[in-house]
């Protein structure tokens, strides 16, 4: 029997507002007053500084970022620096992962595989690189391996937070403001740059849900944010 899962799409939203909702949802999932959920969002341009950020990985000043329309915010999570912005697909599965897979490591492998399978649907060949997190592709124009999907999860009280992003058609110039996750020798690319025909984030979301359901044996249906607030 398939496990029921819920999905919510926050649309285009600031990182801070989405994070508040994610924490609220996580708390309710831990208390089991809300079902396990896939939370989708797209953020306005923002550079987030984790508690483990190395200053050298931020390459522009706050004034230069402002000129580019990129906000800068310190966040409570661990880890290094990251960028989010328009044209980037973000999904945070908030779920009791051990009800679906055996262990957090397998959970991460399955999430990576969902992205690889999803990219294959769009005729892109995603792969893992040993010692590096996320999903990578060989960029057709340069022949270089570049990251197309970043991944980072947290587990609190047995329920996951955060998740993954896929670069659909973001402004890749914005990534030049940082050394993403402190990885200096590898670049970042997008589905658009890799020759994928235009795809909307909502189309990608629907395909992601199908791919996720197939991998995790779930059946995912839509809920709205107002339903969370009323619980």
């Amino acid at each position: 029997m398939k496990k029921d899962l819920t999905w919510i799409d926050l649309g285009l939203i600031s990182y801070e507002d989405a994070f508040v909702i994610q924490e609220q949802l996580h708390k309710k999932c831990v208390a089991e007053s809300w079902p396990d959920t896939l939370l989708f969002q797209e953020n306005f341009p923002v550079i987030t500084l984790g508690r483990g950020t190395h200053e050298k990985n931020l390459l522009l000043t706050a004034a230069e970022l402002l000129e580019l329309g990129i906000a800068l915010t310190a966040v409570s999570r661990g880890g290094d620096i990251s960028y989010h912005g328009n044209g980037q697909f973000i999904v945070s599965p908030i779920l009791h992962f051990d009800q679906y897979v055996k262990g957090a490591h397998q959970y991460v492998r399955c999430l990576e595989q969902v992205v690889i399978n999803l990219l294959a649907h769009y005729q892109l060949k995603g792969k893992r690189i040993k010692g590096r997190s996320g999903v990578w592709v060989t960029e057709p124009g340069t022949g270089e391996d570049k990251k197309i999907s970043a991944l980072g999860i947290a587990v609190s009280h047995g329920v996951t937070l955060h998740g993954m992003s896929i670069n659909v058609n973001p402004n890749l110039e914005h990534f030049k403001a940082i050394i993403p996750c402190g990885i200096e020798d590898k670049g970042v690319t997008s589905m658009e740059v890799c020759g994928c025909p235009p795809v909307t984030l909502s189309d990608l979301r629907d395909q992601f849900i199908l791919t996720f359901d197939e991998m995790f044996g779930t059946q995912t249906t839509r809920r709205t944010i107002s339903e969370i607030e009323s619980r």
């Binding site: 999570r77 262990g103 957090a104 490591h105 991460v108 590096r132 997190s133």
Partner: protein
Amino acid sequence: MKYEIAIPEFAEGAEEINLRQWLVAIGDTVKKGDNIAEAATDKISIYIESPADGVLSATLAAEDDRVLVGQIIGEIEG
């Protein structure tokens, strides 16, 4: 009574685990199940819960230290 805070098994086979941050300071009162520290591999971070009601009496590992599964990183005086 002293309760040990250990790094749980959370990322099978992970070679590198870092203690990313302490979420409470020595002397802080905590309840059993409160998140008190965060440890992470390159892909997974886990919030470590207090094993008991009490006070954080010692930290045996510092932020950014490399730690092992099962390693005692602190103590709760309950």
